[in-house]
């Protein structure tokens, strides 16, 4: 075929757009400084009750102590590994089951009523049952994350597999792909946007569940520390734990964003 009909590669560099005078990030930071400064002063001058609200420098000090004596890492690990095991297991199992339900129609119809029933159940309501079954050990926390994350992942995978474009299935069949090969080379990748949406929902829901589960009891963990410091009115420590928990969540959400952008660059 004539190459002339095809676009040429290469060309001039487009001009770079002018940057604004003040970056929005700088303004955000200034607002934070004003809020923290106001809070600090309000706390110091008894404008707010420090018993409930503390003030930033006290919270920062509490946070610093936890960081230096290593208590932060003990709890981060305790919560983190149960969370990760639960989330990863749920993402793998939920994706596989959901895709299979969407692709093999009869299988989907058989499993569907069970999925609908369990997904309607408020997940945290299961925690007392899990505690009874598994005790206060890691297993009950892993299971609550697993069950909680499983359903959003499964539902999205189910929808994703059902939405596999007819055209792409035809393409694979014409080129000689069997039904099973087609599942891996067409159904799985074309469902990836749905899977990622499910992972995102599951990952945030899992964080809520593990923190709430740790309120119930146990030896350590971020949720446990927030609950203990609150009941003991160790207000600066409580806020410090809250901030660390939020930071951990932020890092996980950002990492998910990054993975999603990488995985879905083709869309």
């Amino acid at each position: 075929m004539a190459a002339s009909a095809v676009q040429e590669l290469g060309g001039d560099q487009p001009p770079t757009p002018r940057k604004p005078l003040i970056q929005p990030g700088v303004i955000s930071f200034l607002i934070l400084v004003v809020i923290l400064g106001g809070w600090e002063l309000a706390g110091r001058f008894d404008l707010i009750n420090p018993f409930f609200f503390s003030w930033p420098s006290a919270i920062a000090k509490a946070a610093w102590v936890m960081l230096m004596n290593g208590q932060l890492f003990v709890d981060l690990w305790f919560t983190g590994y149960a969370y990760l095991i639960g989330v990863i297991a749920a993402c793998i199992f939920g994706s596989a089951l959901g895709l299979a339900m969407g692709w093999w129609k009869t299988f989907g119809q058989i499993v569907d009523p069970y999925v609908v029933f369990f997904s309607a159940m408020p997940r945290i309501a299961l925690y007392p049952v899990l505690l009874m079954l598994f005790g206060l050990g890691d297993m009950s926390r892993i299971m609550i994350v697993f069950i909680g994350v499983l359903f959003p992942v499964l539902f999205n995978a189910y929808v994703g597999a059902k939405q596999t474009p007819r055209l792409l299935i035809d393409v694979a069949r014409v080129f000689g792909y069997s039904n099973n090969k087609l599942f891996l080379s067409i159904v799985l990748p074309s469902s990836l946007p749905y899977l990622m949406a499910g992972f995102r929902t599951g990952i945030t829901l899992g964080m809520v569940l593990i923190v709430v589960a740790e309120f119930f009891g146990g030896s350590s963990g971020l949720g446990r520390e927030i609950a203990i410091t609150a009941t003991m009115y160790k207000t600066p420590e409580m806020y410090a734990w809250l901030i660390y928990t939020s930071l951990a969540a932020l890092i996980i959400v950002r990492a998910t964003d990054y993975l999603e952008r990488r995985a879905l660059a083709w869309t």
């Binding site: 075929m1 004539a2 190459a3 009909a5 095809v6 676009q7 590669l9 055209l167 792409l168 035809d170 393409v171 069949r173 014409v174 080129f175 000689g176 792909y177 090969k181 080379s185 067409i186 990748p189 074309s190 990836l192 660059a265 083709w266 869309t267």
Partner: protein, 253 residues
Amino acid sequence: MNDFLTIDKIHKSFPARESYLKVLDGITLRQGEGEVVAIVGASGSGKTTLLRIVAGLEQPDTGAVALRGKPVTGPGPERAMVFQQFGLLPWLNVLDNILFGLRPAGLTKDEAEERTHDAIARVGLTGFEKFMPKELSGGMQQRVGIARALAVRPALMLCDEPFASVDTLTRQTMQTDLQKVVRETATSVLLVTHDIEEAIFLGDRVIVFSSRPGRVMEEIPITLPKTRDHSVRTLSEFQELREHIWQRLQSKN
């Protein structure tokens, strides 16, 4: 004419509103090796259904299709297809999209890559191997679709309205280019289109299809020179054929 592709008394109906809609009513066709047969008909004339039956994507209610005497019962590597909506896998780049079509053939890695690069060169996409489908224009995406079909070195290439989703300016260039590559590779082509000019320009023979249900109304051998360029469109013979086919498509039978 030899019996490279034989289509015998194909009937096909689809369920519609508690009844059946007959789309193909006793289609019988012969195609010779190396021949380009263009089926032209209105939308709903069942021509795409016929192509899908030849591809093995659908089964006829009655009737049979055979390629080189071998009955068609499902898809096979001796038949490749070019789709109206291109059908590129959006998560694979140009190179991998073409390799995708070759994977079931079980070629060695070197041979698969050699064939892929050959096909890419033939459709004029050299330099675009790493591009993703979304980065290409419609015309270029269809070039990938054609390269993917060429790479499997099919005995018969099935083209389903290959340029219907490409803008008019690009379409004529691509028709010229497709014709060139088909002649170079001596590929037999069964093409389906609603574009009368496309059918005449590309076909050695044009089959005029009636609508609802699809029937063969007329077979017209095209006596224009085998290798054609854009200028054949201005020949009076071309114009007369176009007018004749247009009249046939207007008449109901």
